[in-house]
Amino acid sequence: MASGIKDKVAILGMGCSRFGERWNDNAEDLMIEAFVEALEDAGIEKSQIEAAWFGTAIEEEHVGKSAVPLSMALRLPNIPVTRVENYCASGSEAFRGAVYAVASGAADIALALGVEKLKDTGYGGLPQRNRGSVNDMFWANASAPGSFAQLASAYSAKHGVSKEDMKKAMAHISVKSHDNGSRNPKAHLRNKINEDKVMNAPMIAEPLGLFDCCGVSDGSACAIVTTPEIARSLGKKDLITVKALQLAASNGTEAQHNSWDGSHFVTTRAAANRAYKEAGITKPRDQISMFEVHDCFSITELVTMEDLFISDEGKAVNDIMNGFYDADGTIPCQIDGGLKCFGHPIGASGLRMIYEMYLQMQGRAGERQRTEEPTLGMTHNLGGFPHQNVCALTIVGKEGV
């Protein structure tokens, strides 16, 4: 059994651009905005960064292929830079690369940066695009909301939860995210809404209405990581360290084998079991103090809280309606507004989730700061569709927790 990543790597600095409709900024401008903040936070020189990982997914809409756009945007001194893409989990993928580089001793200080510039398509929502020459011959003409919406029909059928109860719980999730987003100056959507508005919104993909869907945004986020020893030598105290990094990719079971019922994420459950083990967590509901999950759609958040073994299977609706995941609830989920309101610049999202953990654990989250500083947090960054996806889980926490 591998020894795992726990406490081997610390976060030295983080940055995040304002997310939203950044009509007047190129992807490069967003990268610089996130990077400058992170570099200043880390308190190092650019020349001290020895390797970088660049996460972006729909590069044809903005920077194009390869790692060169990152290296050029930040004028990196010819260091190794790797571009990674793993659907919407590309940001977590970049973080994994940088963290593993430090853990392996290949680099003392490494950078992970994610970016996406999605507001140059001419319409709302993710770009309509081809899926690969063979896939296009037989894949359903599916959008992201249409794919995730199906969780609701399968979940309702399996657990006997009525469409109305589902819709109400989903509405609560979205209202909560808007409340949280309203307190986040970097968030894309900062307006408060109520449940009536969610329930009566135009239908996007049944049963998901407009407010069940996250914002599609421009933005960038980045992390600079190093070893705890180097962090301390640079004068850092109360370190935030990486506790677990897990990734699970679908192997076709959900899409092609009849063992999956369509109501949950096979990958999330597999990755969660491994992540808790790696971090030494035995009772996640008692031990984890905050979550940032991939709430691309309200239904995704609902189902995910069961797949992470926080709510009992079939019971997430109760926890949601009881306010368990609200900003002032037992375990806040999306206290920064989540994908729903902070926004979803694909390649940046995984790093944005870690950014919020990092701020909250240092008491730097401003108006949305939890009264009691969280000590252990989990990010859940999902790419793809419920029937074929990648699930990236990251656990970070205070050193020694």
């Binding site: 398509t121 929502g125 037989f138 599916a142 249409g146 199906q150 993909a205 049944e206 084998h257």
Partner: protein
């Protein structure tokens, strides 16, 4: 040995456009349309064309027959999706027929349907092995034209050959006359038509009786003995006039399906023949004739075998599977008769690599998946590594056809975001009863239909994407609700 029809099949698209809605839109311009504004016309879905409709009619026809025995596949239409790519070959592929067969397209005339059947019978008589003859039409018409009112979309299919024929060919006769009542020249989208009175008096009433008269004389048939006279013409009185002129019983004039289907172009004589066979009894004499640069006349005598024919939808079954479409704008949009704002999402390039298509043809056009010879798991698409996590065997997949299997809905949605010519786009995970699953597009979901988890679906061959830039279209199979069993008509009931 006698040659004749071994089996028949029909197909009419589910939507029936109400003619009153067409009239409502256009009588300000052409008040004459009011006279045609009764009943409804069959309206193909956006993902249907002559090839897909022919495939459905053929599947209906071949219900219970050994497809391996088929020696030729013909498709007659004047609305082929491809000018240079054998359309009958696509039909043969979708039916998973063997490659050592003769495939042929018949076109260029409203007589192509009857001429094709006539030739298929001759080939089957000479060659011995059964021939599959299909015909389909999806006629493009100008808005506010009488043809838009009187036309309908549909298809018919016949398996012809020797042996247990349900209808014996008594004889056939063809008159070829270059009488141009309408035409569609190279590069033209629509028909150019001449005055109806002239067409009736000099065309229908002279050329058709000549063909029929010759046939009856050659076969020594008493006109009064004809049970059913199938003649495709929108104005039913014309068929009556022909019947009277020849001495056919008045009651023999068959329903031209103008009220509930419309004239399916070159396929219509054959659609009417399939329809006539549904209600036929042993001993019936069915006369079918056509008109288009001459006339074909074919005479069949129904045999006792018709009582042994397996149940099938037939034209009537598909006519019962019906959604009354009252939105004429949808018809205009499906036929590009209005310049609809489809949005930027519609711009996605749908280019097909021809190498990719050929390599994956069995998957895409035949819907052949795999079955693991070690663990028995069925999967789609076929893969060289078994999807069963407890197996994972390499190179153990045998071909496994999915197209004719029934699946159930596991999850689904109605998507208004993704671009679809007919939003919302319905799709979902479907699970086949014997194993295997697929995230599948759904089609023919009527606006008033309730899709539910657990409901039964069958697969149907449809256009997956149009590549308008290059004039290509790719086909795949989509899931559609299984028709209520009550709709399947059994012979003699």
């Amino acid at each position: 040995m006698e040659v004749g029809i071994l089996a028949y099949g029909g197909y009419i698209p589910q939507s029936r456009l109400q003619r009153s809605e067409i009239a409502k839109a256009h009588t300000w311009f052409n008040p004459g349309l009011k006279g045609l504004a009764k009943g409804e016309r069959a309206m193909a879905n956006w993902d249907e064309d002559s090839v897909t409709m022919a495939v459905e009619a053929a599947r209906d026809c071949l219900n219970g027959y050994d497809r391996e025995a088929i020696s030729a596949v013909y498709l007659a239409s004047t609305t082929f999706p491809f000018q240079d790519r054998q359309n009958a070959g696509i039909v043969a592929d979708a039916l998973s027929l063997k490659s050592n067969l003769q495939a042929m397209d018949f076109s260029s005339s409203q007589r192509a349907g009857s001429a094709g059947l006539s030739l298929a019978l001759q080939v089957a008589k000479g060659g011995g092995d059964p021939v599959l003859f299909t015909t389909a039409e999806k006629r493009e018409t100008r808005a506010a034209s009488p043809l838009e009112m009187t036309s309908g979309d549909g298809a018919a299919a016949f398996l012809v050959g020797q042996g247990k024929v349900i209808a014996r060919l008594v004889g056939s006769h063809t008159e070829a006359v270059d009488f141009v009542d309408h035409f569609r020249g190279e590069g033209a989208d629509y028909d150019y038509t001449w005055e109806e009175r002239w067409v009736r008096d000099e065309g229908y009433l002279k050329i058709v009786p000549a063909a029929i008269g010759a046939l009856l004389e050659e076969t020594g048939t008493d006109p009064a003995s004809i049970s059913t006279f199938c003649f495709p013409v929108a104005a039913r009185s014309v068929a009556g006039m022909i019947a009277k002129k020849i001495g056919l019983p008045e009651a023999s004039v068959a329903d031209n399906l103008q009220a509930n289907c419309g004239e399916t172009g070159t396929a219509h004589s054959m659609v009417m023949l399939a329809h006539a066979l549904e209600g036929a009894k042993p001993g019936d004499k069915i006369l079918v004739a056509s008109f288009g640069q001459g006339s074909d006349a074919l005479l069949f005598e129904v045999t006792d075998e018709i009582n042994n024919l397996s149940p099938r939808m037939g034209v009537s079954g598909y006519l019962e599977r019906r959604h009354a479409e009252t939105n004429y704008n949808k018809f205009l949009a499906f036929h590009n008769l209005i310049n609809l704002e489809r949005g930027i999402r519609a711009e996605t390039d749908k280019k097909t690599g021809l190498t990719t298509l050929y390599r994956n043809k069995d998957m895409a056009q035949r819907m052949i998946g795999g079955e693991c010879s070690q663990c028995g798991t069925a999967q789609f698409p076929k893969s060289n590594m078994c999807v069963n996590e407890n197996c994972g065997a390499v190179g153990t997949q045998d071909d496994y056809p999915f197209a004719d299997r029934i699946a159930r809905v596991n999850s689904f949605t109605a998507d208004r975001l993704t671009y679809s010519p007919d939003p919302p786009a319905y799709y979902g995970m479907i699970q086949f009863e014997e194993g295997g699953r697929l995230m599948s597009d759904f089609t023919d979901i009527a606006p008033d239909a309730e899709v539910e988890v657990g409901m039964s679906m069958r697969m149907t061959f449809r256009v997956k994407d149009y590549d308008d830039k290059r004039g290509f279209r790719r086909y795949f199979w989509k899931a559609t609700p299984v028709d209520a069993p009550a709709n399947a008509s059994k012979q003699g009931e």
